[in-house]
Each structure stands twice: as structure tokens, then as C-alpha cells.
């Protein structure tokens, strides 16, 4: 298209080159710093040279608490993501395929929650959590995540379910299947790619969440991976290499989830796109 409108050849190539470098160089730099002995880094934080070592990863894992934090996040996030997906699947189906009083109200509160700044909920959740005992509870944080990350999934899945032909569900009911049966044996299997998309993106979003994790789990032995990274930079002011190693280990699990889930994600996208 561009060639036709007389955009000279070098420009697109130049832009593509710059974009690639702009993304790759910073990431490569982090890997380089993570492999550098701390002394070399402090002496010259801006140079690519210096020695090579793997020990930063060990230090970050044990002394830096990355190991424990990963374990905490693994206890919180998968549960929170599955619960959020379950809530979203049920509500998305209800909102799109059934009529009931107050449906628009439910829609409204889902949208409202989605647009609410998380920081706005932090103070009352902390205060209420102290009273009801879910501060410093990893399970409590899972429940909070499940709730606050469900609304977008609900709207996403509602729009997906809406695309399923009513005749399908109808025929199931003619055959004597109840509402639950139609939902479970027909709608859910058909929506599986979209449900997987919601699950995977929820893992990612909850893994990245910081402010609630910071406030709701003050006990440092329960801190999540993002909180550990956040504290890291404070504790090890001079420790560029330690921070870099910690960040790589913190990012690794999400990268794995995305690599594993890529096929599902793509299916979810195309299905969602065709839906119309």
C-alpha cells in the first residue's frame, strides 16, 4: 500500500529497525546486567563490559526473597484467575442468554467496577480486611482478585456467548436438557477458546498487580512477586545486577504461560473476531 502512495522505501525499513531495537536493546541490557558481578556494575553502570557470573540469580532467589515471593504468587494467582474465570463465565452466560429482572443493573455494576481505580478500593479493603481478618491472608487476596478481575471477563464472555446461535441451546432444551445442562454441555465447550483467553489474561493481570498486593499482605513473608520486585529496588540500592536477576525470574512464569497459551489465545481472538 505504501509503495503505491509514494512512501520512499527506506522509511518503513528504518521505522521497523528502530522499533525492533527500541524493544530488544532494553531487554538485552537487563539480561546483561543480571549476568554481571555487582562490583563491576557499581564501578561502571553504563557499560556493556565487565565480568560474567550466574550468582546474582542465586542471591536474588534466596537473600532477595524472590523464591518465597514466587511461591506466594503461585498460591494466589492461579486460584484467583480460575475463580475470576468461573464468575465471568457464569455471569457472562446469564447476561447474554437469559432474561431476568435487574439485568441492566448487573451490567452497570460490572462496567462501573471495571472503570474504578484500584487505588480507590485499597483503603476500605484494608480497613475492612483488618476487621474481618482477610488482611495478610493469601486466600483473601485471591478472592479480591477473583472479584475485581471478573467484570471485564464477564463483558468479554457475554459478547461471545451472544454470538452462539440460540437454536443450538433451544434444540438441547427440546431434547429435554435443563438450563444448566444446556450451559454446561453446549455453551461452555463452544466458548472454550474465549474462556481460555479470559483465564490466561487473568493470570497475567493478577500476576502484575501491585497496589492491592502491597497493602493487603503487609507480612513480608507473604509478599507476592511484584511486591518483592518493588521492595528489591529499595533494599538493594546499588544492586542493579540483583534487581535485574530478580526481574528476569519474576517475568519468566508469565512468559511461560503465554508461550503455552498462545494457541488458545489465538483461537480465542479469531473466534471472537468472527463472532460479529
Amino acid at each position: 500500500m505504501n509503495a503505491r502512495i509514494g512512501l520512499r522505501r527506506p522509511l518503513p525499513a528504518l521505522v521497523m529497525g528502530l522499533c525492533t531495537l527500541a524493544v530488544v536493546l532494553p531487554l538485552l541490557w537487563v539480561v546483561r546486567v543480571a549476568l554481571k558481578p555487582t562490583d563491576d556494575y557499581i564501578g561502571d553502570p553504563g557499560s556493556f563490559g565487565g565480568g560474567w557470573t550466574l550468582e546474582n540469580f542465586g542471591h536474588a532467589w534466596s537473600n532477595g526473597g524472590i523464591g518465597d515471593a514466587l511461591f506466594n504468587s503461585l498460591r494466589i494467582v492461579p486460584l484467583g484467575a480460575v475463580l475470576a474465570t468461573v464468575l465471568a463465565t457464569l455471569a457472562g452466560y446469564g447476561l447474554s442468554k437469559m432474561l431476568f429482572p435487574g439485568r441492566r443493573f448487573v451490567f452497570g455494576i460490572a462496567v462501573a467496577t471495571m472503570t474504578l481505580p484500584l487505588a480507590a478500593l485499597v483503603i476500605p479493603l484494608f480497613d475492612e480486611g483488618l476487621r474481618l481478618g482477610y488482611v495478610d491472608s493469601r486466600f483473601g487476596l485471591s478472592l479480591i482478585y477473583a472479584t475485581l478481575f471478573a467484570p471485564w471477563g464477564t463483558l468479554f464472555l457475554a459478547s461471545y456467548f451472544r454470538g452462539l446461535p440460540d437454536e443450538l441451546l433451544e434444540s438441547a432444551q427440546v431434547d429435554g436438557a435443563g438450563t444448566l445442562r444446556a450451559f454446561w454441555s453446549i455453551a461452555v465447550p463452544l466458548a472454550l477458546p474465549a474462556i481460555a483467553t479470559v483465564l490466561i489474561l487473568n493470570v497475567f493481570l493478577q500476576w502484575s498487580e501491585l497496589i492491592l498486593a502491597l497493602v493487603m499482605l503487609p507480612d513480608s513473608s507473604k509478599q507476592t512477586i511484584t511486591v518483592a520486585i518493588a521492595q528489591f529496588s529499595g533494599q538493594f540500592r546499588t544492586g542493579g545486577p540483583l534487581t535485574a536477576a530478580g526481574m528476569i525470574m519474576a517475568a519468566a512464569p508469565v512468559m511461560v504461560v503465554f508461550l503455552l497459551g498462545q494457541r488458545w489465545l489465538r483461537a480465542g481472538v479469531t473466534a471472537g473476531a468472527v463472532k460479529g
Binding site: R4, I5, V30, L95, L99, A119, F126, E128, E209, G268
Partner: protein, 331 residues
């Protein structure tokens, strides 16, 4: 990328395509009149309620109740230990007279203005690289940052933008030392740096959305314009910009609810609000005042201002699209 709404690729593209193919905004309304709904027998009205009940119950406990509380606390003096005491508008009066608060509010406005950059840059990149042989690869590379939590991206750029970090050292070594800056330590520059970093992280998603939009665009518009002798700039402004407006609207909305509602992890990772308060945002100050300083009443008042700002922003976007649509109809 950081909030409770994914700014990430997959959902967005699905939703964009949904929008461009004009899905009805209000579900089921129209169909209901058609009367061909299979699952609306009387007994199943309650089934519908049962399906949404878990979500509604959870939202009530962890979102609506807290929302009510934060509004209430905003009008109280409260330290979390002794009972909250109603003080009327005192917290808001305090904020009005607190000089720092105006700077914090200004910081938020400046960062929100960053939306222009976060939209314009991906828009331009997408158009320039569209149709190139290696464009799919570049688009994939650009999406990598979208997978990283903001706190990590903040950490990455704190290494890169440090005073003696690689960016400044490189500039110095190639004789451009004059361009070397205290990127995150200068109170005039810091917000621009934050905007740049968020732009770096979100560009890939934007490029992907715009590319999806471009691929649905009919080439005849472009051809006609080229035949009429339009140059590249005119083409972008008069053809691509209006044609991609649905994408722009959606991407702006996504940035608003996905990034603008949660600057916190970016600020925490990059600057911790500094230097001084030069990059402190409302949500960061909610954390400082409400949690760290234990002034739950004041923190809540700041949170309410933050909610207000988002509502105004969303209403403005809604109004802008309505006005534009009205103008299109009448012209």
C-alpha cells in the same frame, strides 16, 4: 497493562473487530422484541439470576461496599484505630489549600495528556509498516513489553535511564553528551520520561489494533485519494485518521480504563513519586496518605478526587464521540 482491565492484545482485537462490525451495545434488547428467545421461560427467570448471583455477591462485598465506604471516609477524620469522626468537607478544604495537591493533580493531567502520544505513535508506526514483508515479525516484537508487569518495566528503565546508565553513557560516548539528562531525577523532565516509558510498553498493543483496523480498510479509498494527487500527509490525515476512528476510540478507552486508572505501579517502579512530588499521582498519594501515613480519611478524599477525574474523562470521551457522530449526521 497493569490494572484490572487487560490492555493486552487478545481481548482488544476481539473487541475491536466486534465494534467495527457493529455489535449492538445493549445486549438482547432487540432480540427480546423478536420473541424468539428459547431460554426465557418463566421458571428460568430465576435461573438467570442464579447465574449472575455469584458475581453480584462478590462485587457487593469487595467492590460496592468498599466504594460506599471510601466515599463515607472521605468526609471523616479516621486513623483506622479510633472510630471515624464525621468532619464534613474538611478533607476537601485541606486538599484545596494544600499546595502539593495541585501539583499532584497537575501531574495526573499531564500523564493523561500522554494518551495523545500513546495513540499517535502506534497509529503512525502501524501505517508506515503496514504491508511490509517483515511487519508481522516487528509487530510481534513490539508486543513483548505488553507481557511484562509494569513494576518490572519500571525497574528496567530505572537501570537504563540512571544518571550513569547506558543511555546517558552512550550519548556521551558518541559526542552527544549535551543530550544526556537526569531523566528520572529532574522535576521538569520526569513526567515526560514516564509518558515515554508507558508509551514503550503500550505501543505494541496499539500497533496491533491499528494494523487490524488497516487490514479491514477498503483500498479503494486510498487509491482514489492517490489518483487525486494526495500526498502522504494528506492521506494520513484525511483518509486513515477518519477511517481508523473506531480503533482510536476503542484504544483511547482501553488506555483510559487500563492505564490511567492505575498509574501506581509505573510510578512506584520508576520514581516512587519523586523527585520530591514531581511525579506523584493521585493513586500514589492515596497510598502514601491513606496507608503509609495512616490518614484514612484524607486518603479516601484523594481517592474520591481520583474517581471523579476518571468519570469526567470517560464522560468527555463519550461526549466527544456523540458530538462527532451528530456532526457526521448533519453534514
Amino acid at each position: 497493562m497493569s490494572s484490572h482491565v487487560p490492555t493486552s492484545a487478545a481481548t482488544s482485537s476481539a473487541q475491536v473487530s466486534e465494534r467495527t462490525t457493529a455489535a449492538p451495545a445493549r445486549p438482547g434488547r432487540r432480540r427480546r422484541r423478536g420473541g424468539s428467545r428459547p431460554v426465557t421461560r418463566r421458571s428460568e427467570r430465576f435461573a438467570g439470576l442464579l447465574f449472575v448471583a455469584p458475581l453480584v455477591a462478590m462485587l457487593a462485598v469487595f467492590a460496592l461496599l468498599p466504594l460506599g465506604r471510601v466515599v463515607y471516609y472521605a468526609f471523616t477524620r479516621y486513623d483506622g484505630l479510633t472510630p471515624a469522626r464525621w468532619v464534613g468537607l474538611e478533607n476537601f478544604k485541606f486538599l484545596l489549600e494544600w499546595h502539593d495537591f495541585w501539583r499532584i493533580l497537575l501531574n495526573n493531567v499531564v500523564l493523561i495528556a500522554g494518551i495523545v502520544v500513546w495513540v499517535a505513535v502506534p497509529f503512525t508506526i502501524a501505517i508506515v509498516i503496514f504491508g511490509q514483508r517483515r511487519a508481522p515479525l516487528v509487530r510481534t516484537v513490539l508486543l513483548l513489553p505488553a507481557l511484562l508487569p509494569p513494576i518490572i518495566i519500571g525497574g528496567v528503565f530505572r537501570l537504563l535511564l540512571a544518571d550513569k546508565g547506558p543511555l546517558n553513557e552512550t550519548l556521551r560516548s558518541i559526542g552527544l553528551g549535551a543530550l544526556a539528562q537526569p531523566w528520572l531525577a529532574d522535576d521538569k523532565l520526569v513526567l515526560l520520561s514516564v509518558i515515554g516509558v508507558i508509551g514503550w510498553a503500550t505501543a505494541g498493543t496499539g500497533v496491533m489494533l491499528y494494523s487490524a483496523g488497516l487490514s479491514t480498510l477498503s483500498e479503494s479509498y486510498v487509491e482514489a485519494a492517490v489518483l487525486d494527487g494526495a500526498n502522504w500527509r494528506q492521506l494520513v490525515w484525511h483518509i486513515y485518521r477518519p477511517a481508523l476512528r473506531p480503533v482510536t476510540r476503542f484504544w483511547t478507552l482501553l488506555l483510559t480504563v487500563g492505564t490511567v486508572t492505575v498509574f501506581f505501579p509505573w510510578i512506584y517502579g520508576l520514581t516512587q513519586g519523586g523527585p520530591g512530588i514531581a511525579s506523584t499521582t493521585l493513586d500514589y498519594q492515596v497510598y502514601i496518605s491513606g496507608i503509609q501515613d495512616g490518614r484514612l480519611g484524607l486518603g479516601s478524599a484523594i481517592a474520591v478526587v481520583g474517581i471523579f477525574l476518571i468519570v469526567v474523562l470517560l464522560l468527555a470521551q463519550y461526549a466527544a464521540s456523540r458530538v462527532r457522530r451528530a456532526a457526521e449526521w448533519t453534514s
